[in-house]
Amino acid sequence: MDVILLQILNGLDKGSAYALIALGLTLIFGTLGVVNFAHGALFMIGAFCAVTLQRLLSFSHTVVDETKTDFLGNPLKVEKPYIEGWFGPEIGGAIIEWSVPLAILFAIPVMVGVGFAMERGLIKHFYKRPHADQILVTFGLAIVLQEIIKYFFGANPIPTPAPDALSGSVDLGAMIGFEVNQIIYPLWRLVYFAFAALIIGAVFAFLQFTTFGMVVRAGMADRETVGLLGINIDRRFTIMFGIAAAVAGLAGVMYTPINPPNYHMGMDFLVLSFVVVVVGGMGSLPGAVLAGFLLGILESFASTTWATTTIPGINQVIIYLVAIIVLLTRPRGLMGRKGVMED
C-alpha cells in the first residue's frame, strides 16, 4: 500500500511537468494551429532563468584570504557576493537561497518576451505552411536555443537548490495514519505539484472567466468569424503564445531543484509532452492535463521492480504502448474533438 501511494505521488509529480508543458503546447496548437517543437526549449530556458537569477544574485567581488591557499599554493581568492555586502550576510544569504522562488517573478516577463520574439520573429511566417515545415523550423529553433544556452552555461548540469525551508522530506505517512517512515516524500516535489495545480487552475480561469479568454476560446473555435466581427484575433493569439511560453518557463524554473538543469533538458520532456498532447486529444486543454497526470502515474508504476521483473523493459515503452492503445480505440485522443487536425 505504501509503495502504491509513493508511486502515485511520483506519478502526480512527473505528471505535473508533463501537464504544464502539454498545456502550453495545446494552447499554441489550439490558437495558432502551430506544432511547436521548440516548446521543450522554452521549458529549458525557464530553468536557466532560475540559474541566471541565482548567478545575478551571487554576483561577487574577489577578496584575498591570506590565511588560506588555493590549489597552486597562492593566497586564496574568495568570492564575496555584493548582495551580502549591501544587506548583510544573513539577509543577503537568504535572498540568494531563495533565488528559485524569486526566479518566478524574473521568468514571467523574460518568457513572455521570448514567446513574443519567437512568434513575431519566426513562427508567424509559417502559419500557412504545412505542419511538416512548422515542425522542422521549430525543431531547428530548439537546437539553436540549446546551443546558445550551452555556449553561455556549459554542458554540465548546474546545481540550483531549493531554499532550506523547502528542502528535505516530509513524513506523509505519519500524517495520514501510516507507520512512521513508511511514506516519506521530498517537500519540494509537493511544492511543485501544488504550483502546477495553481498554474493550471489560473490558465483555465483566465480562459473561462475573462473577456480576453472568451475571445480566445471563440477564436479557437472559429477564427474567421471572430475576425469578421472586427476583433484583432492575431494579436490575442500572439499574447497567448507569450502566456504558453511563460507556463513552460515557470514549469522549468520550479523543476530546477528537482534535477540540476542542463542545456538538453527540454528535449527530454519534448517527445513525452507530444505524446501527452496526442493522448489527451489535439487542441483539448483538459485532455492535455488529464493525459499528463495519467501518463505520469503509469510511467511511475511501470518503473517499479515488480513491473520491470514481470515485463522487462516495460518502463521504457509504457507511454508509447498506452498511446497506441488510446489511438486505436479513440483516434482523437481521450478528449479530442471532431475537426481538429482532420481534413
Binding site: F71, L72, A155, I258, P260
Partner: protein, 450 residues
C-alpha cells in the same frame, strides 16, 4: 617503329586490378609504400585527439583536450615541461618525437560509438594521425579500439571504466591508463567494511548498458565477499532523467546502503533524487543509511553540488595527490588554464607522454614496436606513483583512490577529499579473471597496418 604489346584482354585485366585497388578503402592502402599506417615522412608527426566536444560530456572532453594540448606543448619543448621533468623515463628531450615536431588534429566523439569511429577514421585517413587518444565512455573506447586495431594505429583510451575495454574486448593496439570497475570494487571494499561494517544490505541502481553491468557485477562481488547481502539490483534506462520511481522502492526494501552505478547526468540526477527522498537521514536495521557512488569524477561532483557531501566513491587520480608527478602536472595545467585538472584530463596527458616516450625508446613509430615498448613498461613520475602497463591485457596498474564528498569545501575545486590511496597490490587481478573474459580473452596480434 615501335611495337605495342597491348591486348584487349591485357588492358581489361590491368584495369580490373587497378579498379579494385582504387576501390579498396584508403585506410588499408594509404601508406602501401610504408612499413606501417601513416608513417611520418616529413618534419612533423600528427596525433589524433578524439574527445566529446558536443553532447552531455562536452565539458569532460574539453578538459581532456586542454591536457592533450599541454602535453603537445611539453613534447615540443614549450612551457615549463610539466611531467617531462618528473617522468622516470628520460627518453623525451622536449624536441618532439624522434626529432619530429608534434602536431595534432581533433575529432568529436559526441559520446556516440558510430560518431567516434567516424571521427577517428577521418583523422587516420585524411589527417594521417598515427595515434588516437581520448574519449569519455566505454562504448566509445571499445568501438574506437576496434577501429584502430583494424587500421594499424595505436589507441590510447581516455576515460573508460568498464572491465571489457581490457577484458573480453582487449586489443593488441590498444592501451588503457584509466582504472576499471573491478579495481573500484577492490579499492572500495575495505573502506566500506571499515566505515559501514560487514553486515549491510545493499540495493543497486544500475545504468542499463555495458559499463553499468560490469560495475554492478564488480561491486556486488566485492561487497558480498565482505559479508554484505545484495537486496536488489535494478537496471535504469540510460535516458532516465527523474529517478524518483526507482528511489521510492528503496525506502521500504530493507536495504541500508544504496549503490548508484551511474555516471554523468544519470549520477547527478539519481544522487540528487536520493538525497531529496531523505535517504541519508534514515536509520534502517539500526544503522545509518549510506549511499555509495563507485565511480566519481570532479565534473560530476560539481553538478551534484551539496548532495555529494559524505558520499564515498573511487577515482583514478585526483589533483590533491602529493606525489612529484601530480604536483608538476597540476602546476603546469593550473598556471595555464586557471583551474586544477580533472582525472580524465590527467589520463589523457599521461597517455600522450607515454606514447611519445614509447616511440622514443623503440626508435620507431611502427605500432608494433610501440606496443613492444609499452608492454610490461614500469615507470613513475606521472602521478599515482609506480605504475605498470601489463603486457597480457594492456591494462595499467597503479594505486587507486577512494574519495568522499567534502563536508566543508573551501573552493569549487576541493569538493572531493581523498580518504585512502589503495595500494596497487590490492586491486591487481589475474589477466584471465572471469570478469575480464576468462581464458578466452586475447589481445590478438599487433597490427602495423599498411
Amino acid at each position: 617503329m615501335s611495337k605495342s604489346n597491348l591486348t584487349r584482354r591485357g588492358v581489361l585485366k590491368t584495369g580490373a586490378v587497378a579498379g579494385a585497388g582504387v576501390a579498396l578503402p584508403t585506410i588499408f592502402t594509404a601508406s602501401s609504400a610504408s612499413a606501417f599506417t601513416n608513417e611520418p615522412t616529413g618534419g612533423t608527426v600528427t596525433l589524433g585527439f578524439n574527445v566529446p566536444q558536443t553532447g552531455p560530456y562536452a565539458e569532460e572532453g574539453n578538459d581532456e583536450l586542454l591536457a592533450q594540448q599541454l602535453a603537445v606543448e611539453h613534447l615540443n619543448g614549450e612551457g615549463d615541461g610539466g611531467c617531462l621533468n618528473t617522468f622516470s623515463s628520460k627518453a623525451l628531450k622536449g624536441n618532439g618525437i624522434l626529432g619530429k615536431k608534434v602536431t595534432f588534429v581533433t575529432g568529436d566523439t559526441q559520446t556516440k560509438s558510430d560518431a567516434a569511429r567516424a571521427s577517428a577514421k577521418s583523422m587516420i585517413e585524411k589527417d594521417g594521425a598515427i595515434m588516437i587518444n581520448g574519449g569519455s565512455s566505454s562504448g566509445v573506447a571499445v568501438a574506437v579500439q576496434g577501429l584502430c586495431q583494424e587500421a594499424g594505429i595505436i589507441f590510447m583510451a581516455g576515460l573508460t571504466h568498464a572491465n571489457d575495454t581490457t577484458g573480453k574486448d582487449r586489443k593488441a593496439n590498444g592501451f588503457r591508463h584509466f582504472f576499471n570497475a573491478y579495481m573500484s570494487g577492490a579499492a572500495l571494499a575495505p573502506v566500506l567494511a571499515k566505515e559501514m561494517g560487514n553486515d549491510r544490505r545493499a540495493y543497486h541502481l544500475t545504468a542499463d548498458y555495458n559499463w553499468g553491468w560490469t560495475q554492478e557485477e564488480s561491486i556486488v562481488a566485492s561487497t558480498e565477499a565482505l559479508g554484505w547481502e545484495t537486496v536488489n539490483t535494478v537496471k535504469t534506462p540510460l535516458a532516465s532523467t527523474d529517478f524518483s520511481s526507482y528511489i521510492a522502492p528503496v525506502l521500504n526494501s530493507g536495504a541500508d546502503v544504496l549503490v548508484l552505478n551511474h555516471y554523468g547526468g544519470n549520477m547527478v540526477n539519481s544522487l540528487t533524487n536520493a538525497i531529496q527522498f531523505g535517504l541519508l537521514d534514515k536509520v534502517v536495521n539500526g544503522k545509518d543509511f549510506k549511499i555509495v557512488v563507485p565511480l566519481y569524477s570532479e565534473l560530476m561532483a560539481a553538478g551534484a553540488g551539496e548532495n555529494i557531501k559524505g558520499v564515498l566513491g573511487s577515482m583514478n587520480w585526483n589533483w590533491q595527490l602529493q606525489d612529484e608527478g601530480t604536483r608538476a602536472f597540476v602546476k603546469s595545467f593550473g598556471e595555464k588554464y586557471g583551474k586544477p585538472p580533472s582525472n580524465s584530463a590527467q589520463t589523457c596527458y599521461a597517455q600522450v607522454l607515454l606514447y611519445a616516450d614509447a616511440v622514443e625508446r623503440a626508435g620507431s613509430f611502427n605500432p608494433c614496436a610501440v606496443v613492444e615498448a609499452l608492454e610490461g613498461f614500469e615507470f613513475d613520475g606521472l602521478g599515482n606513483g609506480p605504475t605498470l602497463y601489463r603486457a597480457e591485457d594492456h591494462q595499467c596498474f597503479k594505486d587507486v583512490l577512494v574519495v568522499r564528498g567534502a563536508q566543508n569545501p573551501t573552493t569549487q575545486y576541493d569538493t572531493l577529499e581523498i580518504v585512502e590511496v589503495t595500494p596497487v597490490e590490492q586491486v591487481t587481478y589475474p589477466p584471465n579473471h572471469p570478469m575480464f573474459g576468462g581464458d578466452e580473452a586475447s589481445l590478438g596480434e599487433c597490427n602495423p597496418g599498411a
